[in-house]
């Protein structure tokens, strides 16, 4: 259909297992919190609202406009969703959008979906809402400027994070992937910012009740402001620093042990499929295989039981 993928969706195979699972864990916890928060504030009404809003983001991403050099800008919409619906609701909406893009259109993988949701859902919600909330109650001009800058930084932060994940997985070299990704998204981000501001102005003209100071403040605590400012500052300061001096970032990551985490094997329990105290013998490999088979069998039993409980 009229669906064209944006360059931010990482497919399966490009991130290694540790990075994929790490970001899945962070994303799963955040989405869990978002579900309980929106349950409290919206009740059962949330499901149709979020569902249609997710469809809105999906459909709005089909609105494209030409950017320089024959490429076209896409609307990601994370920042707009966070400003209008609130950060927790935006996390759920973006999660649903990215899940359907990955499942239905293979735009973004399944194992790496945690990372994709983190980049395009969580970061954009924190930056988009956090910065806008700081400006709540100010004049229109200030608020729109902040919203636009927030949307631009959110796109940059997502690109920055995606390049870092690719680099930590050993897929790309930082000095190549980072300038490339940031260079493209500096432009895409401008389109995102203009659309976000124009959409916001349009909504304010027609439904001012959705964007009053009280309505904005109700959607999330003051903590979002600090989180938003810190994450946005990190993204803005890190981007030029890392692009001009990637070796510096590499050294920092090495000192902190991140590089090792990304590039070594994810499981040290059964290194090279041998059992440590048995040494490198065929017997050792067989024992290791048997242990692996038992683990899989156990997992299957657990899954099977949970399925049966649901069926009863």
């Amino acid at each position: 259909m009229h669906y064209s993928p944006a360059p931010l969706h990482i497919p399966d195979g490009f991130l290694n297992l540790v990075i994929s699972l790490l970001f899945w864990a962070i994303t799963a916890v955040t989405v869990g919190i978002a579900i309980s928060k929106t349950n409290k504030s919206l009740g059962e009404k949330q499901v149709p609202l979020m569902g249609v809003m997710a469809a809105f983001i999906f459909a709005a991403q089909m609105l494209n406009f030409p950017v320089a050099g024959g490429t076209s800008g896409h609307f990601l919409g994370g920042a707009l969703a966070a400003i209008v619906l609130g950060p927790w609701a935006a996390v759920l909406v973006m999660t649903a959008v990215i899940a359907v893009q990955g499942l239905l259109f293979q735009d973004g993988g399944l194992l790496v979906m945690g990372a994709n949701i983190f980049n395009m859902g969580l970061l954009t919600a924190v930056i988009g809402y956090g910065l806008y909330r700081a400006a709540a109650g100010r004049s229109k001009g200030v608020r729109y400027a902040v919203a636009g800058v927030g949307a631009w930084i959110a796109v940059l932060a997502a690109a920055l994070m995606a390049s870092m994940q690719l680099w930590l997985s050993g897929t790309s070299q930082l000095q190549i992937v980072l300038p490339a990704m940031l260079g493209v998204h500096v432009l895409i981000g401008i389109g995102e910012a203009i659309i976000t501001v124009a959409a916001l102005a349009f909504i304010e003209r027609t439904r001012p009740d959705l964007l009053t100071e009280k309505a904005t403040a109700e959607k999330g605590g003051r903590g979002w402001v600090y989180a938003g400012v810190v994450v946005a500052l990190l993204a803005v300061l890190l981007s030029p620093l890392a692009s001009t001096n990637p070796d510096g970032l590499e050294r920092v990551a090495e000192d902190m042990g991140f590089l090792h985490l990304g590039q070594s094997a994810p499981f040290q329990i059964l290194p090279d499929y041998t059992v440590p105290f048995l040494g490198q013998t065929p017997l050792s490999t067989i024992v290791a295989g048997a242990v692996g088979a038992l683990v899989v069998l156990g997992l299957m039993i657990v899954i099977g039981q949970s399925l049966r409980k649901r069926n009863a």
Partner: protein
């Protein structure tokens, strides 16, 4: 636009279509996980994984090359991995001078790059096979059984249900924009390109705002209609999935095959 405009399901009568959606989801995820776990350059295991995939294609009655023909969506992203070829590890193969850059491809880097591409390509095909043989509502139901929170799965179900409605809305907006921005062929409506771009982006923004409001109001109407029909916050299904013994057999066989793949890749 019809409700199934975005559907990727391909109707056919086959073993794979009849299989319980939970088994299909779990096996697909395990297969992708297995690809991620295989070390770089484990060509025997990766080749075997492809043969298994072809066999699954055959089982689906959609044709052996079904997923292959659709598997190039992730290809543009391969650009991101190109820099892996010039990995500092491994033995130098050549030395290329491109402008101010000196590029040194290494054997380790080349193997890494090829492995990433093959892994990604196999994983995409597995996902394609999953959505082509499983109706989307069934798949959502399967995720619910696999303990994904009901709130999230229901939001996804709504997204899927209303996507084509809102796409219709987008088409109307785009048609309206087109009919209002007429220009003689070969003439730019505005001399200043930058101003024109800004204007176009602003119009797109207004369209996004309009679309948002229409969606927001629509969700209100949907909610009221649902309340009137007795909605209590839980979506019900008439399609209760029951695991048959053939489903269990398929799941066990797939798990064994994937385990076998891992052993081959590691030995």
């Amino acid at each position: 636009m019809h409700a199934d405009a975005f559907d990727r399901f391909h109707e056919a009568e086959s073993r794979l279509h009849r299989l319980d959606p939970r088994v299909k989801v779990v096996v697909t995820v395990l297969f992708i996980l297995s690809n991620a776990l295989l070390p770089d350059g484990a060509w025997a295991a990766l080749g075997l994984a492809w043969i298994i995939l072809l066999w699954a294609n055959q089982l689906s009655n959609l044709g052996v090359d079904f997923s292959f023909r659709r598997s190039f969506v992730a290809l543009p992203f391969a650009l991101a991995a190109v820099s892996a070829i010039f990995s500092p590890l491994g033995n130098q193969l050549a030395e290329w001078h491109v402008g101010p850059l000196v590029l040194i491809p290494t054997d380790y880097g080349l193997i890494k790059f090829a492995s990433i591409l093959v892994r990604s390509w196999l994983s995409v095909q597995a996902a394609i096979l999953l959505v082509s043989t499983t109706r989307f509502p069934d798949m959502i139901h399967a995720f619910e059984h696999l303990r994904v929170p009901a709130t999230l799965t229901t939001i996804v179900a709504f997204l899927y249900r209303y996507l084509f409605v809102l796409t219709d809305e987008v088409m109307r907006l785009l048609r309206a924009r087109k009919s209002r921005s007429a220009a003689a062929p070969g003439h730019r409506p505005c001399r200043d390109v930058a101003m024109q771009r800004l204007y176009m982006a602003r119009v797109t923004g207004n369209m996004a705002g309009q679309l948002f409001l229409r969606s927001y109001d629509r969700s209100d109407r949907i909610y009221n209609a649902m309340l009137a029909r007795g909605y209590t916050g839980q979506l019900r299904t008439l399609n209760a999935h029951v695991m048959k013994s053939s489903d269990w057999r398929f799941a066990a066989l797939s798990a064994l095959l994937i385990l076998f793949l891992q052993l081959i890749g590691r030995l």
